[in-house]
Symmetry: C2
Subunit: 311 residues, 2 copies
């Protein structure tokens, strides 16, 4: 029941000797969701021992090179590896000509299908749902269309207590009904209450990824109660005018959003190369929202399971 984020790249547009451009992998129940794909993503996947083949879905926030230039190498490597599984790519609809160019000039006769899911970035939208997770876009504000992504673990059905299964000799049909919340009636007509038969479910976990956006108040609503929030902190508070001019945010703005949205934990990245280190940015954020962190390439952040308290 994993829910683990690994940071593959955390630089802003210019990579450094230690920070690759933006890319992350979210592991939800051992399915890997790739979020942005800056240059070198496939190298980082190998470096951090993440099995590339587990990725079936790629989500691209926007079409700036530092968020997409790793896709072409990834596509080609999958082909060399003889991949058979479909790869689903979610990106702004303007990505279509670039994908078409890649397929024509570098990706003829791929061993697998790339299935493109275009979106418009104009309104929040659920762009993917499966039995483990749903993915929603958040329209952000930058020089080009850009979205954030919220990954929400699907609510689980109730789990039936193993002891109850044995004690009452429950059939598969009985278990299905109990999972849906029904009580159970024994052969002798005794009614056993659902709460006596089931374990309390886990609270569904959530992760929000927001980068390349200026700060705006409405984000608080979008990010309400998210467990783990990645928010860009390209600039320090003293450079907040520059942040607004360039369509970026500051560490303090990231922390204010985390605080006001009641986020569980804030992680920040996409730091401008103008700062020699990230100490000041971290300090500024922690003063507003104590559970703030700056990410490094290779960092892992796990959101732990918590049972929903008995009512």
């Amino acid at each position: 029941m994993s829910f683990i984020l690994t940071v593959l790249g955390s630089s802003s547009a210019l990579p450094t000797a230690t920070r690759f451009p933006t890319a992350q992998v979210l592991n939800v129940h051992e399915r890997f969701f790739l979020i942005d794909c800056g240059e070198g993503t496939q190298i980082q996947l190998r470096r951090f021992s993440l099995n590339m083949s587990r990725i079936r879905h790629v989500f691209i926030s926007h079409l700036h090179g530092d968020h997409v230039f790793g896709l072409f190498g990834l596509f080609s490597s999958y082909n060399l590896m003889g991949r058979k599984t479909d790869l689903h790519v979610f990106a702004h609809r303007d990505f279509e000509p670039t994908l078409a160019h890649y397929l024509e000039y570098f990706g003829k006769d791929l061993t697998y299908r790339i299935i493109f899911h275009p979106f418009t970035a104009k309104r929040p939208d659920i762009i993917h749902t499966d039995k483990h997770v749903s993915v929603q876009t958040i329209p952000l504000r930058h020089s080009v269309p850009v979205v954030g992504f919220i990954f929400r673990e699907q609510e689980k059905l109730l789990n039936v207590n193993k002891e109850a299964i044995q004690k009452y000799g429950l059939t598969i049909q009985d278990i299905r009904k109990i999972k849906e919340g029904k009580d159970f009636e024994t052969e002798s007509g005794k009614v056993i209450r659902n709460s006596e038969l089931t374990l309390l479910p886990y609270r569904p976990r959530s992760y929000a990824f927001c980068t390349d956006t200026l700060y705006f108040r409405k984000l608080v609503n979008y990010l309400k109660d998210v467990d783990l929030l990645y928010f860009e902190a390209t600039f320090s508070n003293k450079d907040r005018k520059l942040a607004r001019m360039t369509g970026h945010s500051t560490s303090v703005q990231a922390a204010e959003l985390a605080r006001d949205a009641n986020a569980g934990r804030l992680i920040m990245g996409h730091f401008s190369t103008r700062y020699k280190n990230t100490e000041k940015l971290l300090k500024e954020a922690c003063a507003v929202f104590p559970d703030s962190h700056v990410v490094e390439d290779g960092d892992r952040y796990e959101v732990a399971l918590t049972r929903i308290a008995s009512s």
Copy 2:
């Protein structure tokens, strides 16, 4: 008077946790020539502290992704850095649509010019000459058009001995004539022989880069007497049939070429990921040509200056 090769990436088509795709920098008298540009090249340049801005010429051997996918990030980073100097890109003429696509979708309004020098890969051709170096293509044999490159340091004029300048009070005009090989006549009419006034010049150095090619005999002529030879050794000798089938070479073939062409030194790369390490490939090559080496990312190879012996 540097003549130093730095290996940025040495993997075959699939990068590994420690080897990036192909890219190298040749430093000739502090001018940087970039040879191939696999994904992550700009990151390796930073990692190995090579000043990106010194690159004015990029040479692309062929249009497979593992040799070109680093170009787009490099182009975009130069733009973010406000580059003003022209960047000369030498590649097969089929690269034109990809370059045009980049410029339209990712590189509008660049701060500098990308000047494209297309070639055809059909015959050997001098594609670049300046006062420091000339660059010649070698047609190679692979599944797509591919060339090798030979970089040859330009022959220097004779250097005039500083002591002679003082002793005879040589003027700039005198020095120019002496550099051209003329004798000098003093005011009293005494003829001083040119060899008494000049230092012997250095022997021009050379570097050849050949990757993604099967072995063929004519290469010996092209590579004759090269000082430093990079040749692909994708496969071990036992997999030589596979090498031929896939348009690649073996360590033994690389070493035979180095030996038969009278190369100064052989360095090998582009190793298939099927080999856990390169020990066997190195051993095979050294048995044929003792001065064989396997490269790692970050390795530097300098060709030392040698004076031409007095005749």
